[in-house]
Structure formats: C-alpha cells, structure tokens
C-alpha cells in the first residue's frame, strides 16, 4: 500500500499564557516577575503512518489530543517537535469545527465559491459542482442567505456536501456527524462508503464508537496526548469501552 501520511515523533504543547493573556501589561508583569511559562502537552511523541485508502478513526476522552492531531495533519498547527509528511500531490480537505472555512456574513453560495478558490478550483469548476452541492445539502433557498443564519445542522450539511463534492484525496472530519440528524448521518455514511470504495483516505474524530467500528479500517486510541492502542476497530473499541466501564 502507498503511504500517504507519515507522523514522526510529533509533540505539541500549548502555552497557557498565550491562550489566556494577550495584554502588554500581563506580559511585562510576567517578565518582571520572571514567571515561567506553563505548558499543556496536547501531543507527546506521536508516530504512525497512514496508507492510501485507509479510514482511520481517532478515539479518546475529551482533551486526549484528537482534534489537535487532526489540526497537525491539516497543517494548521505546526508541531514544536517532530515531522508531519503528507503526500504533496494529494488534495487534503479538512472539516474542522464543522466548517471548511466559511465566513459568517457570506451566503452559502458565496462561501462555496470562496472555499472552491481556496481549494484551487476555478469559478467554472465550482459552478459545475454547485447543483450537486445544493442537492446533497438540502438547504434550498437558504443557499442565498448568510451562513450565520444557518442552524448547526444546515451548516454541517453544506460543509460536508462541499468537502466531498470537490473530490478530496484526504478528508479530515472532526465530529462533523455529531450535529446532523439521523437522515443526514445515513446520507453521509452512504457517501463516505462510496468515497472509501473509490480510494479516498479518511481520518475522523467521533465519540460514536459504533459508527467508527463499522466505517473504519483502523482505530487509534489517544490518551493524554499519546497513542494508547491502535489496530483493528472492534478490538480497540472494546478495550476503550472496557476502560470506560471500569471508571
């Protein structure tokens, strides 16, 4: 199998000060008091590879580092240590925090064109895909309303529809299915299965273990920023459930 993503000894740490205090006064005060930075290690020495066509599920408790790992793969966060190598010829589409990068004031249609430009598609190419996007998202006339007026379900439907319609090679999904209704999840599942058959590589974060076990070829269980277990989905899910039962 062809390797498409390689994660080598990746470590990411967040500076508490950076996320909480952004004023000159607190920075100068910390410098004057020689206060040391306080770090939270989100990922610690994580290494694994992903082959083309694999469907990976990331599981773990809140704060385990799942979303951080997706962001590292997406290239949004640069790790302080280690390397992330993504096949440069692959089109990577991340669906993080529900959106693909939607601007709240713009309409659904305008956001589709903007996101298309972001993915390197021409206006003509997006125009050709627009009917398919609208049809799958089922948002009808709302396509010409600002996305800030959308419900989280509508937002997720449009984001998923757009992300999958632009034919990615690698798709990153962060809890995107958590906000949709039963019908949307069923529709997404069908489309994802079709995409998996066509050879797309998918990495998804979800707390829905049953969904991951049925859809993924491998599960990676993260705990405190490290890989606790990875392998065959049912085996990893059972081990994770067992820990939950014990706690």
């Amino acid at each position: 199998m062809q390797e498409i993503i390689k994660i080598e000894n990746v470590s990411v740490r967040f500076d508490h000060h950076a996320t909480q205090h952004r004023s000159l006064r607190t920075t100068l005060s910390n410098l004057a008091k020689n206060r040391r930075a306080e770090y939270f290690e989100a990922l610690k020495d994580v290494s694994f590879t992903i082959d083309k066509g694999e469907t990976i599920g990331l599981i773990g408790r809140n704060g385990a580092g799942k979303s951080t790992l997706l962001r590292v793969i997406a290239g949004v966060i640069k790790p302080q240590l280690g390397n992330v190598i993504v096949n440069p010829s692959s089109r990577l589409v991340p669906l993080l925090e529900l959106g693909i990068g939607f601007q709240a004031e713009l309409t659904g249609r305008e956001n589709c064109f903007l996101a298309g430009a972001l993915m390197g598609l021409s206006k003509k190419q997006i125009q050709a895909k627009l009917d398919g996007i609208i049809k799958f998202a089922e948002i009808g006339d709302f396509m010409d309303e600002a996305v800030k007026t959308y419900s989280s379900g509508m937002y997720a439907r449009l984001a998923f529809s757009l992300a999958t319609e632009i034919e990615p090679d690698i798709l990153l999904l962060d809890e995107i299915l958590g906000v949709g209704d039963m019908f949307f999840i069923r529709k997404c599942t069908a489309r994802m299965q079709k995409m998996i058959r066509s050879g797309i590589t998918t990495i998804m974060v979800s707390h829905n273990l049953d969904f991951l076990v049925t859809q993924c070829s491998r599960l990676i269980w993260l705990e405190h920023g490290q890989i606790r277990l990875q392998g065959e989905p049912k085996m990893v899910a059972d081990a994770y459930r067992k820990l939950g039962d014990q706690k």
Binding site: A18, R71, G75, L96
Partner: protein, 258 residues
C-alpha cells in the same frame, strides 16, 4: 521566505478581496458607488473647512490638499487593514493550512482598490481646478509603489505585534492620528514661521518626504528631490523587509494566539 509568495493562492486572494468589498456595501442603496462618493464627500468637507483656516483660495487649496491627503488615506488604510488582518482571518486560519501572507495582502489589495477609485475622482476634480499640468505627474506610479511597500511593511510588523498584544491597535490608531496632524498634509510646510520649532521638526518628519512624492509632481509641478526618494525608499525597504521577516518568523506561533 520567498516560498510563502510562491505558494500563495492568488485565485483565493482575488476572490476574497472582491467578496469583502461586495460585503462592505451589501444592504446599501448606492452599493459600490459609495467607493467613489465617500472620498468626494470627505475631501469636499475638509477642503471647505481647511481652505478657510489656511487662508488659501479654495481651488489652490484643493490641489494642495488632495495631492497628499488621498495617498495618506491609502497609507493609513493599508497599515490599519493589514494590522488587523491576521486576527480577522481567524475564521480560516484555525481550520485550513493557508499562507498567513494571504490576509495582509488581501487587506492591501482592498485598500489599493479604494485608493485608485479615490485617486480617479481626484484626477477628475483636479482637471477642472488645477491650472497647469506638467510631465512630472508620470512619476506618480513610483511614488505609489514606494508608499505601498512602506505601508505594507509597517502593517505586517503591526499585524505580528497585534496578534500577540491586543493593546497595539489603539496605540497604532493614536500614533497614525498624531502623525497625520503633525505632517504637512492639511497645512503647507512654508506656512510655518521660518526657523520656528515646528518648521525644524518637519525636516525630521518621515511623512514630509512621503507627502513630497505626491505634492511635488501634482501641486508644485516638479520632481521629488533625491533626498525625498532616498528617505522614502529607505523607509519602505527597511519596513517591508522587517515585516516579511517578522510574519515568516512568528507564523508557527500564531495559532495559539488567535
């Protein structure tokens, strides 16, 4: 560092800039026409008020004022727009791996479009009120280029600082206001008494030289001096270099501060 520019998604940059301009005038009756009307109203009001204060004829003062005020507004809008660009790009920067240079360049492009609209209006007005035109105006593209480079560089440096420290914005706004009112834009440098402290200080005011790049070809009908070119090109090179370096150097840390 140059890889940032090589890998820039120019298609997105253009689409994003035009979307932002469209968004600015959404729900307005006159729409994009405001891009032309707004500078006319602003410049008209200032001309009426300050021609009386400066005891100059309105037509003479209009030529003097417009020649430097329109470039100043562009300079200021570029600096403030670029400064806010990284923070304002949070909606995308936390979701997609995209060059951080996209956002400052988009803000610069928007300011440049506004400037060319305003400048076109100014040239039409000047066609009626300016008595003589000379060949010196053909030097203006170089003046615009140097002004753009300086503003973009200062803006990028401030964008880095603003991402880490949110106090920067009011400080920068106040600094620009002080710079504007102390520069020879609303008043003429030779209106100061010879040898006075104010006229001495103007020699050290950087905007004196940037204003000269426009005032000399448009109002005084001559070329800017060698000193004007040296000072402005020097400032532009230093700030542009520092701005690009700072943005490149601090990019990996931005995510945690957005």
């Amino acid at each position: 560092m140059l890889i940032h520019f090589k890998n820039l998604n120019w298609g997105f940059l253009k689409a994003y800039a035009f979307t932002q301009i469209k968004l600015r005038y959404r729900h307005t009756t006159l729409g994009i026409m405001w891009n032309v009307l707004e500078p006319v109203l602003y410049l008209g009001t200032l001309s009426l008020v300050f021609s009386a204060i400066n005891r100059m004829s309105l037509s003479d003062y209009v030529v003097y004022l417009f020649s430097a005020l329109v470039p100043w507004r562009y300079f200021e809008a570029t600096i403030l727009g670029v400064m806010e660009s990284i923070i304002a790009g949070e909606w995308l920067l936390k979701k997609l791996a995209i060059s951080y240079f996209i956002f400052p360049l988009t803000r610069w492009l928007i300011a440049a479009i506004d400037f060319f609209c305003a400048f076109a209006v100014v040239l039409v007005i000047l066609a009626f009120v300016k008595p003589t035109w000379t060949i010196h105006i053909f030097i203006l593209p170089i003046s615009i280029f140097i002004t753009s480079a300086a503003a973009l560089g200062i803006g990028m440096l401030l964008a880095v600082a603003y991402t880490f420290f949110r106090d920067i914005k009011p400080l920068a706004t106040t600094g620009l206001m002080l710079t504007f009112f102390s520069a020879p834009i609303l008043f003429k440098a030779d209106s100061m008494p010879m040898g006075s402290l104010q006229s001495e200080l103007l020699v050290y005011h950087p905007v004196t030289y940037f204003a000269a790049l426009f005032q000399k070809p448009l109002y005084y009908n001559c070329l800017p001096s060698l000193l004007d070119w040296q000072v402005t090109a020097g400032i532009a090179s230093v700030f542009l270099g520092l701005g690009i370096w700072a943005l490149h150097h601090f990019t990996p840390r931005f995510y945690f501060y957005l």
